[in-house]
Amino acid sequence: MINIILMFLLYAVLLIIQFVIPKYFVCNSIYPNFILMYVVYMALNRGAMKGQLTGFLYGLSWDILSTDIFGTRALSLTIAGYIAGKFNRNLNKDQIATQIIIMSVCLIATHLLLILLYLLIPNDFAKKSIELNSNFFIYLIVNLILTPVVFKILNFFKKHSNSVKFYK
């Protein structure tokens, strides 16, 4: 029961951080993608199953809260969770280089997928999509710089929250 409550709290906190913090730090539509970082972190630490499910859940929540085509985020984050989960046992997930490489792969994959989706489904929303309008290179660098920091924070919570089995 406590785990469910903590999971729900984490879910709410992450959504709030994702939708509130960029309001203060977004510059030229470049924003930190905390949800993707969390999905990748979950996939690396808990495997592809947890990763893709987390991706789908958070993607769906993002779709609900955003004005983009419904389902696009769910699809992209599910794929990101799946890809990152595949590296679960093959790579040393505690190395910064590994984290950055996997994160960059996921970022590029989700970006290309979004471009493909917007090309296949022409919509007015396509013009408004942040990813398509932003400078992707800077977006990538910003998120790759933040990735080790976010992973460190999540590791810190994982180590110091022994009661939260969600992380174990």
């Binding site: 709030i16 779709d63 809260l65 599910t78």
Partner: protein, 277 residues
């Protein structure tokens, strides 16, 4: 076991992908709006809290930067205050000096005067350039050392002398040409202060003229502000002769008073308006 796990992962992945694609293709805008509103309803307090926290943090950072800016500004303003205080002190001293000087100038406030016309009753040939007697005296309010003028043809006043002795119904006027007579004067349009003295002749002599000053024939001489008898700027006469030494210094400057250019039968005593009877 591992293969089974992978298969399960792949199956779930395909199901999730299919589900996502179905959601994309379904274009379910209306139910999503309801869901969005519901989610926002639950997340709003948290969003508000986080937003307020960040706003407060931003305000705190802004305030801190403002404090630093204000501190720097304060230093600059303090320096300016010191500078301005010095300037204010200077200004105060100048103001005090100005007040003192004004007070000094106002020691003799301008008096209201009036002219008392009198007729010359005696002018002795032996003392032609020294004295004359008028038909008004103490009874008319005339006192000693009152300035006496005459009206010229162009209706301007010119100095004739001052009252030297006053009797009940007559007064003796010491003429400006009297050798005992001296009055501080100015050379008009030159702002040169000097002294003029009578010579018991038709000319007056100008003394204490600065050697650096440039005088010309026909320069007008008027009473100066240093005179205790006459008010300023009453015409006296014009320079008629300038004699210089071999060293180009002024040896003698003779002035022909206006009073000598016309016949005088009447004079006017300038007297204070409140003292007239």
């Amino acid at each position: 076991m591992k293969n089974n796990n992978n298969k399960a992962v792949n199956k779930v992945f395909f199901i999730l992908i299919l589900l996502s694609l179905l959601l994309i293709l379904a274009r379910i805008s209306q139910p999503v709006t309801i869901l969005r509103n519901l989610t926002y309803h639950f997340l709003i307090p948290g969003i508000h809290f986080t937003s307020n926290s960040f706003s407060s943090s931003n305000k705190f950072i802004t305030n801190m930067s403002n404090i630093f800016r204000v501190y720097q500004e304060n230093i600059i303003l303090r320096e300016q205050i010191v500078l301005l205080t010095e300037q204010l002190r200077d200004y105060q001293s100048v103001l005090e000096e100005n007040i003192k000087l004004k007070n000094l100038l106002l020691l003799q406030p301008p008096k209201k005067t009036k002219l008392l016309f009198a007729t010359i009753i005696i002018r002795e040939p032996d003392h032609w350039y020294k004295w004359l007697i008028i038909n008004k005296g103490q009874n008319c309010g005339i006192k000693k050392d009152m300035p006496v003028v005459t009206i010229m043809r162009d209706n301007k006043m010119c100095v004739i002398g001052k009252t030297a002795e006053v009797y009940d119904s007559t007064a003796k006027i010491a003429l400006i040409t009297n050798s005992l007579f001296a009055v501080p004067v100015q050379i008009k349009n030159a702002d040169i202060d000097c002294l003029i003295e009578g010579t018991d002749s038709r000319y007056l002599k100008l003394f204490h003229v600065p050697q650096s000053s440039k005088l010309n024939i026909n320069d007008e001489i008027v009473t100066g502000p240093l005179s205790s008898v006459f008010s300023s700027n009453i015409p006296i006469g014009q320079i008629s002769e300038i004699t210089k030494t071999t060293y180009d210094d002024y040896a003698e400057i003779l002035v022909l008073p206006y009073v000598q250019k016309q016949r005088i039968y009447e004079v006017a005593v300038i007297m204070p308006a409140e003292e007239s009877k």
